[in-house]
């Protein structure tokens, strides 16, 4: 509802929800967001005082009400300003929306949460939600507008997309849903709009193995990375992996380099977050918007910057 009001005013505005991965581990993604959205006519509010979503290993693992309370405080920051949140991190997207879903479907939880929020002079009515950057680009901004704003394109580049689990499942909790979560097309269509080939590959919806799995048992986690990488190489021989998740970004970027060094992978494919690719194509400084990586990106960046529109 809030997004619609914003649309009427011809001005999109969101609360920029950073999370933890992005500001501390991949701040170049943060720069990308801060660069591309104003350029696409979207106003971002800093949402001062935001915290961790909370991520899965923290409050969700301790207490449902506690999880929802922390999430509700973040969502309330947007609700107070009459705006939705926007995130580039799937974990935040999942945790915030899952908590919201719990509150909206279970009045008892919602009541308890608001009791807790009342002690800090806040409340959460359930209006504000968290939107995903990819969906805002796809639905609110539109692919036409995106195309127009590009200085460079992805022509001739084959992209393997990695939407990530919390972009898809469980589909019923999210504000925006793929028609078929088992055959997601939003990210592919965005990349194609930018000129890339973004074919389907059979392990497209497989998990990257980041998060708790990696911290608990990295070796097991890397099985998933390896499988995925090999499938990408074999089936579509991609030049670039584009993801909409900060965790997938870190995992695929970091782990494939480890696997390569251990001799378990004999190729490497650069990995970027969608907002980074857009920022590059819009002509922002590669150092600032895509400067942090483990798997080398120089070559792909060079190729992109050769593709003047």
């Amino acid at each position: 509802m809030m997004a619609e009001t914003a649309k009427e005013e011809k001005k999109l505005k969101f609360g920029l929800f950073l999370g933890c991965n992005i500001p501390f581990s991949r701040p170049d993604v943060e720069v990308s967001m801060r660069s591309i959205f104003p350029a696409l006519g979207v106003e971002l509010d800093d949402l001062l005082g935001q915290s961790c979503c909370p991520t899965w290993g923290t409050m969700p693992s301790i207490d449902v009400v506690g999880w929802c309370a922390v999430a509700a405080r973040n969502l309330a920051l947007g609700e107070e300003k009459g705006i939705d949140l926007i995130t580039a991190c799937n974990s935040c997207y999942g945790s915030l929306n899952e908590a919201r879903h719990k509150m909206l479907t279970n009045p008892e939880i919602h009541r308890k949460v608001n009791e807790i929020l009342a002690t800090i002079g806040k409340k959460y009515e359930g209006k504000a939600k968290c939107r995903h950057v990819a969906w805002v680009i796809y639905k609110d901004i539109g692919l036409e507008k995106l195309k127009e704003s590009l200085k460079y394109t992805l022509d001739g580049i084959t992209v393997a997309v990695q939407p990530g689990c919390h972009f898809l499942w469980p589909s019923e909790i999210y504000p925006d849903r793929e028609k078929d979560p088992f055959n997601p097309v939003v990210l592919r269509e965005i990349c194609e709009a930018m000129g890339a080939e973004a074919p389907h590959y059979s392990k497209l919806i497989e998990c990257c193995g980041m998060g708790a799995l990696r911290s608990t048992d990295p070796e097991k986690s890397f099985i998933l990375v390896r499988e995925k990488m090999e499938n990408i190489k074999e089936e579509i021989d991609a030049d670039l992996i584009v993801t909409t998740c900060s965790s997938c970004l870190i995992q695929l970027d970091d782990a494939q380099e480890r696997l390569r060094k251990e001799g378990k992978l004999n190729f490497s494919i650069p990995v970027m977050h969608l907002v980074q690719v857009i920022a590059l194509c819009m002509g922002f400084d590669p150092e600032k918007v895509a400067g942090i990586c483990v798997t080398p990106r120089d070559e792909i960046i060079k190729r992109i910057l050769e593709n003047k529109r």
Binding site: D180, P181, F182, N183, H200, S202, K203, I205
Partner: protein, 701 residues
């Protein structure tokens, strides 16, 4: 007789120890003797026994009593028995009232004997109070129409129709498709005997068509039902066929020439191939007649129905291909035709609903890559292995069916070419797709386990090299010879895995990456398959709910027609005279459908055979002298039994006793107290209420 002062006999039953064990019979007797109009009180060990009933009969015959109160068990089971006793003794059977002192007294208050005795007195006093006000009533008989409507021409409808017709009654069989045969006509072979479905079905279809007592109305739908048990009036719409069925011989010439642009997915082949806009439902159709799917028809040569054809320069009419090839003129488009078809009215005494089922479409199951042509439903698999199917029974992957059709065309033209289509090597069956699934249907579809085994077995026997996997949650084979059948499949080397498939992903070469779980191994399993067959759930066929509504039958939560009682009245419905058979009532296999059809037929016939039907006298009646004509009662009647009629120049309410079921909602509402519900009149109920309120104290008017 009604003028006579009531002389009430009260009969108290001991019910062995059941009543006497808690109720002091002697005390109650003494009490009852003092009640007004009571002339005698007797007790007996078992009132419902022959000697017990004889006591009553004798007292009536000797003129001692003219009203009977039996204090015993519940009227729900025993009222009819005692009423018959009254009748036998020559007393109007409605001069009877029962006092429930067992189920609602001695049993419930077994350990409070004094209070149970006290309560028994009150109950009897109330019954006596009502008995004083009883009136003689006459049951009426109405004539029945000894004809039956069977809705649905699948195997259940066919059997019901044949059984009834063979018994000499007229049957109307209404089927909405052009041909009867139903889903069974699509099946290749049937479990557990593996005989060919059409070989056993087609003769029955022909028998129906030729039966002198059966009037077949195909391509027709029930539009409206009025009336009640014994005398229903049914409106049936015969849809426009756009082909003159009197002339059509079913030669099929027209169907071959219908142009590619007018071709649409063939329902009979479950969309695996296409049919023309003008088509015959399937080769063994009965009746074998063509119809035009008017939405698909592209009106070749501008041939709208009811127009004269344009002429060529030399004056020859330009006809659509179908009418041009029709040897009998059945496809002639010059004659105007009513797009709405025609409505016929049928009078029947009973209705059997055999509207069958449909299988769920695969599109709902996103996790199984329904977009892949090589993921198919089991019903599609039936067509794929059937010799009348899209590939004439040749097993190829469905993604190659277009290649097959191309090849066939060339061969028909006489070209010598090899068929370049992939044969599946590995086939995976997935069970419980949409069944036992809270997102779709929580019920078990009941036939899937068996038909998966059947298909796998047929394939394996024909192609021993095939690698077949069946993923079950639980294997369910409760039926005669069913488990033996299943074990035979296991012996053939079909790999049965206990565990559900959680994902099917499409590979670039149109093969499929199947991910399942093997509960016995306790591990996830995966494999690459050429063909995935989904055992999608069985659902009630479209329109079941609407039809049920028209007939006043409820559908269960899942949309299947609700039987009157799960165990005792499995083919009856809450609407008297309407019976159900087959999958309309719930998923079932062919043996069960046939058994149920025969049961429904027998039930319908036992209803109609006497030619007359007794109508209970416990219905409402309007005293037109008292009626003020306000009409409040008219909309209240759930059966539309009340209408306003002219009575001495005034509009007065009138109740049709044949439609009235005796609920009394009108009697309660009548502001003029002009409506009386016989058997539960205002005065009668009030007398009971007052007597109980006064704790059974003898009431003197």
């Amino acid at each position: 007789m009604a003028e006579e002062e009531p002389r009430i006999g009260v009969y108290i039953c001991h019910c062995g120890e059941n009543i006497a064990g808690a109720v002091n019979i002697e005390e109650v007797k003494k009490f009852a003797e003092k009640l007004p109009n009571v002339v005698l009180v007797r007790d007996y060990l078992f009132m419902c026994s022959n000697p017990g009933q004889e006591l009553i009969k004798q007292d009536i015959r000797e003129g001692k009593i003219n009203r009977v109160v039996v204090a015993a068990c519940t009227p729900r089971t025993h009222e009819p028995i005692f009423r018959r006793a009254l009748e036998d003794a020559g007393l109007n059977k409605y001069f009877f009232e029962m006092a429930n002192i067992r189920d609602q007294d001695s049993w419930a208050h077994w350990h409070e004997k004094e209070k149970a005795t006290e309560k028994a007195k009150q109950i009897i006093a109330a019954a006596v109070a009502k008995a004083r006000l009883l009136e003689p009533l006459e049951d009426r008989y109405v004539d029945l129409t000894q004809k039956v409507l069977v809705v649905g021409g699948g195997i259940a409808g066919i059997f019901a129709a044949l059984d009834i017709a063979n018994a000499g009654y007229k049957v109307y069989l209404v089927e909405r498709n052009p041909s009867i045969g139903g889903n069974m006509a699509k099946l290749d072979k049937t479990f557990p005997t593996n005989d060919c479905s059409s070989c056993i079905l087609t003769p029955l279809m022909v028998e129906v068509a030729n039966h002198p007592n059966i009037e077949l109305l195909t391509y027709s739908e029930v539009e409206d039902v009025e009336g009640t048990v014994g005398n229903f009036k049914v409106k049936v719409r015969k849809k426009q066929t756009w082909v003159d069925w009197d002339l059509c011989t079913g030669c099929g010439a027209c169907t071959n020439v219908c142009p590619p642009k007018a071709r649409v997915p063939d329902e009979f082949n479950e969309g695996l191939s296409k049919r023309g806009a003008i088509y015959i439902q399937f080769p063994q159709a009965v009746p074998k007649k063509a119809v035009v799917d008017i939405d698909a028809c592209i009106k070749c040569a501008g041939r709208e129905f009811g127009t004269e054809p344009r002429k060529t320069k030399d004056g020859k009419p330009i006809l659509a291909p179908c009418e041009k090839v029709c040897p009998t003129g059945a496809a002639d488009r010059t004659k105007p035709r009513n797009p709405e078809g025609e409505v016929v009215e049928l009078d029947v005494g009973a209705i059997i609903l055999a509207t069958g089922y449909k299988v769920m479409d695969k599109k709902h199951f996103k996790e199984f890559s329904p977009d892949s042509p090589n993921v198919i439903t089991a019903m599609q698999m039936e067509r794929l292995i059937s010799s009348t199917g899209p590939t004439e029974g040749k097993l190829i992957v469905p993604s190659d069916i277009p290649k097959y059709l191309e090849w066939k065309k060339k061969v028909e033209k006489g070209e010598q070419v090899e068929l370049d289509a992939r044969k599946p090597h590995r086939i995976v069956y997935v069970s419980c797709v949409g069944s036992r699934d809270d997102r779709f249907h929580s019920y078990c579809s009941r036939v899937c386990c068996m038909y998966m085994v059947k298909q796998a077995m047929l394939l394996k026997e024909k192609y021993p090299d095939l690698d077949i996997y069946i993923f079950f949650i639980d294997v369910r084979t409760p039926g005669k010879d069913f488990d033996e059948y299943y074990m035979r499949a296991r012996r053939l080397g079909i790999k049965v895995i206990k565990g559900k498939v959680g994902g099917v992903q499409r590979l670039p070469d149109e093969r499929l990456w199947v991910r399942g779980y093997d509960a016995e191994l306790g591990k996830p399993v995966e494999l690459i398959a050429d063909l995935v067959v989904l055992a999608t759930a069985i659902e009630p066929s479209d329109g079941t709910f609407e039809l049920a509504r028209k007939l006043g039958i409820t559908c269960g939560e899942e949309g299947f027609l609700k039987e009157r009682h799960t165990k005792l009245y499995p083919v009856d419905t809450m609407t008297e005279g309407v019976f159900i058979a087959g999958c309309a009532q719930g998923p079932k296999d062919i043996p069960d459908s046939v058994a149920q059809a025969k049961a429904a037929a027998a039930s319908a016939m036992s209803l109609l055979a006497p030619g007359k039907m007794k109508v209970e006298a416990l219905v409402s009646e309007v005293d037109k002298e008292k009626c003020s004509g306000c009409g409040i009662c008219v909309p209240l009647c759930p059966y539309g039994a009340i209408s306003m009629v002219n009575y001495n120049g005034k509009m007065r309410a009138d109740i049709n006793p044949a439609l009235c079921k005796g609920c009394g909602v009108c009697a309660a509402a009548c502001p003029s107290k002009a409506i009386k519900l016989h058997g539960f009149t205002f005065e009668q109920v009030l007398a009971q209420v007052r007597t109980l309120a006064k704790r059974g104290v003898v009431e003197v008017l």
